[in-house]
Amino acid sequence: MFTESTFVFIALTAIFAYSFYAVLVAGQLSLGQAGFASLAAFTAASLAPDPGDVGDLPALLIAIVIGMAVGAAAALILGLPTMRLRGVFLAIATLAFAEAVRILIINMEWTGGAQGMSVPKILEPWMAWVVLALVAYWFWRQGPTRYGRALEAIREDELAARAMGIDVGNHRLSAFIAAGAIAGLYGVLWAFYVRLIAPEDFGFAQAIDGLVTAVVGGSTAFVGPLLGSVFLTMVPEVQRAIGIEAGWIRPFLASLLLLLVILFLPGGLASLLPRRAARLVTGSADERAEVESRLSQRVHPTDGQTVVKLQGLGKDYGGVHANRDIDLHITGGEIIGLIGPNGAGKTTLVNMISGMTKPTSGTAEVLGLDPGGVAVHKVAAAGVSRTFQHSKLFARLSALENVMVGGHLVSKPTFLRRMLWLPSARRDERRLAVHAAHCLNRVGLADKEGVKASALSYGDQRRLEIARALASDPSLLILDEPAAGMNHVEADALSDLIGSLAQDGLTILLIEHNVGMVMKTCSRIVVLNFGEVIATGTPEEIANNPAVVEAYLGSSESEDAS
């Protein structure tokens, strides 16, 4: 039932599945891995030295180096133009690449065409398992690092990841290159085990197999691809062993089993294992102080210094003016309330300030940058952090992990050091954890650290967004309706929190429908209506401004009148 090749193919299938896992953790659906594997296999098989001359292991190692380099280079070349594509469009583009490679290999003289190329068999089972162990180790170490969390954040919500200062394009490309390198590794191992490689060994069906293995195993936990491979490799072996007659019934049963797994374990087989959640590390008071001084080094603009300066800013959506002629000057330490009826253009305005929407007219300067002219993550790096009107949390990450992603900008990269078990990586991770715990604590969520963001109550999700935004140590904090779904007591606590943040030197821009809270919290209020600023002033001035009363606050009077 279990022969030598079963072991080898469990390892090889798992390695191929890891090449899908490498991009699935970042939310990318690519089917180009078969193409990378094919290029790597044929190139390595023709360029690697004869094992008879240099010995089996050296020949294999050289082939692996060639194969991984070819795979990574192909991924880079394909990735540069295609990384802007999302979801099914990326899948189709990469599939087209794999098909192009297949056609190329069929028609090339040096590859032997459809009849394939013969390759010496030098891969021993132990070699395959050592390689698998190294690949699994790679992803095990990658998970709880700044890089690993950034990829997961991109998978969960790309826009929010950008707002947390993650350079999404670079991260997606590096994940894609990793996928290319591992697919290349698989191609080489395959070539040096099966004796003959042919273009159809790397066809569409094989790409789908790899994807299915990764998804069935679980694409959010590093053991997933291995579990998927054991499962899918063993199904035919077990069927053969228990004597199910060869023929259509076996693939039928295998497909049925696959259907059941996907139906009942949408997170893959890995969801059967307990998920290791990052633990809350509060640390001693001294440690907290040390961490905060280390991670919160930003010098905030002081009173009177410009934080935001908008001149004639406008946004047209094909003739519809979402914002028109907005002039606004915000200085350090202010708490600005932005109010106005629904559809007044409040969210468009903060989107322009945080760089997510490009203005169509006017100029903007935010912390020394033009937010319309640079990438969102650069605006975030300059010190702008925000929450969203509709929660954009990283749903499958725990509350603590969400906040740790928020700390992306203030923490150091730890992936490479974690691979090498350097103690400094552990120290940096601990610092970030302490910092995140501190932020959770500030919003009153310290006891919910292990709960998945999607499982939190609505009010808690609003608070978690604030904690996440705080973790990047911002100078300008934009809160888009943070009190929605909160009761009076919670809203009061939030109001106090905002006050204490301002005392720390943060500048705050608050959009809120709870006018009482805005009046109580803000030092200055800007009122928008139909995309234009209709009033600016202190809470008292606004409350007594007839235009505002008519446009917005007037609703209560008209109710009285009726």
């Binding site: 039932m1 279990f2 022969t3 030598e4 090749s5 079963t6 072991f7 193919f9 069929i106 028609n107 065409g113 459809a114 009849q115 394939g116 013969s118 068999k121 099966v194 004796r195 003959l196 042919a198 273009p199 159809e200 060994d201 053991v223 490799t233 035919p236 072996e237 053969r240 060869a246 023929g247 259509w248 076996r250 693939p251 294992l273 307990p274 290791r276």
Partner: protein
């Protein structure tokens, strides 16, 4: 974290140990004594049952061939087990047209004491799986591998299927002579190992002749619409069209050629040697020339009985794959009985000594290179069935 990882590692270790244990348990196989019998030839009596393993593509891309082969083997096993003296247990395994499965199935047969392995269906898979039998000193009889180099893999690898080099040059020569060809078009699917290597032999035979190849057109094995290519072929005004393709391509290609008014002979190879051609292409198949390893119209005693038995058991006509599979088990029986032993090395000796043995394929011999030698046949479709091209 640490405990989980530890548990996982431990579990993986236990799994690995358990699997290795299972693997080594299977080794060794049956006792040798029971497989060596007494007597010779028809009088040979072997006490033990002779295990014959077959790795065929019953599902996946090559499933249609594997299915025919399975039928042929089952019919032959029934025939042989009616005869006194030697009993065969035939185990047919599916390689799913996947090298991983083929390798695994071959390893299984080597480990469980199988006397001889038949298959696999495709030549590419053969290069991947047959070396395992060679390393395990288990004889292999290939029944449909036509690529060059199959038997060069080792002294345990035999085949009863003629290579392209044995069939195609003869077909080309016969066609040129019969139809007095001057200028021809060659078409082949270049993404299939079988049809591509067939094309290579076809091209070199044409090159050696005086015939001009006006154009060479390629298609994919998954294509079903050949009108554009055929129009191009028609414009070259050839005397004949040579095609190296599988039966799946042959049927639409022949049909569409006749629709477009191409009346010149269409000449195909082993892939065309299938009764489905007449069944599905009907009238259009008339006049198609097929070079093949099996003469379905042969009236020798073995073939007549085979055609009748097959029709009775499966309700359809056999194709070349079924015939070669059927012949294979009879050849194995002859090899076993010649030394009256079903031990692996004895079968290997026996196969090497096969000479002028009457089979459904005609009188067959195994030569010093362990390849089969028998007459190939050039057939033409006439009145809805294959007849030998005179």
């Amino acid at each position: 974290m640490r405990t989980n990882l530890f548990k996982l590692t431990a579990a993986a270790g236990v799994l690995a140990l358990a699997l290795t244990a299972c693997g080594s348990d299977d080794g060794g196989g049956e006792t040798d004594g029971a497989l060596a019998g007494e007597g010779t030839g028809d009088d040979c009596v072997i006490d033990g049952e002779v295990a014959v393993g077959a790795a065929l593509s019953l599902t996946g891309a090559a499933a249609s061939y594997g299915e025919s082969q399975k039928n042929g083997l089952e019919l032959a096993a029934e025939d042989l087990n009616e005869k006194e003296g030697v009993t065969y247990t035939l185990t047919i395994e599916d390689d799913q047209t996947d090298p991983r499965q083929a390798i695994s199935v071959f390893e299984g047969f080597v480990d469980d004491g199988t006397s001889i392995i038949i298959g696999p269906t495709l030549s590419n898979t053969a290069f991947q799986a047959q070396p395992i039998a060679q390393e395990g000193s288990v004889p292999v009889l290939a029944i449909s591998n036509t690529a060059a180099g199959i038997t060069e893999q080792g002294d345990y690898i035999f085949r009863n299927s003629l290579t392209e080099a044995q069939v195609i040059p003869q077909t080309v020569a016969k066609a040129i002579e019969t139809y007095d060809l001057q200028s021809v078009i060659v078409m082949y699917s270049n993404d299939d190992a079988f049809t591509e290597s067939g094309y290579e032999v076809m091209a070199s035979s044409l090159e050696e002749s005086d015939v001009t190849v006006a154009d060479t057109l390629t298609f994919s094995k998954s294509d079903t619409d050949f009108r554009a290519l055929l129009t191009e072929a028609k414009n070259a005004n050839p005397d004949a069209i040579f095609v190296s393709g599988l039966i799946e391509a042959a049927i639409p290609l022949v049909t569409q050629a006749r629709e477009l008014g191409i009346e010149v002979p269409i000449i195909g190879g082993n892939g065309f040697n299938n009764p489905q051609l007449m069944a599905d292409a009907g009238e259009a198949a008339e006049g198609v020339v097929v070079g093949a390893a099996w003469n379905s119209a042969s009236d020798n005693a073995e073939n007549t009985a085979f055609l009748a038995d097959y029709e009775e058991k499966f309700g359809s006509q056999p194709d070349q794959f079924a015939a070669q599979a059927y012949a294979a088990l009879h050849i194995i029986d002859a090899a076993v009985r010649s030394g009256c032993s079903a031990e692996r090395d004895a079968i290997k000796e026996g196969l090497g000594g096969i000479s002028d043995m009457p089979t459904v394929l005609g009188s067959i011999s195994i030569n010093a290179d362990r390849d089969a030698e028998h007459d190939a046949v050039v057939q033409v479709v006439e009145g809805g069935s294959f007849t030998v091209l005179p």
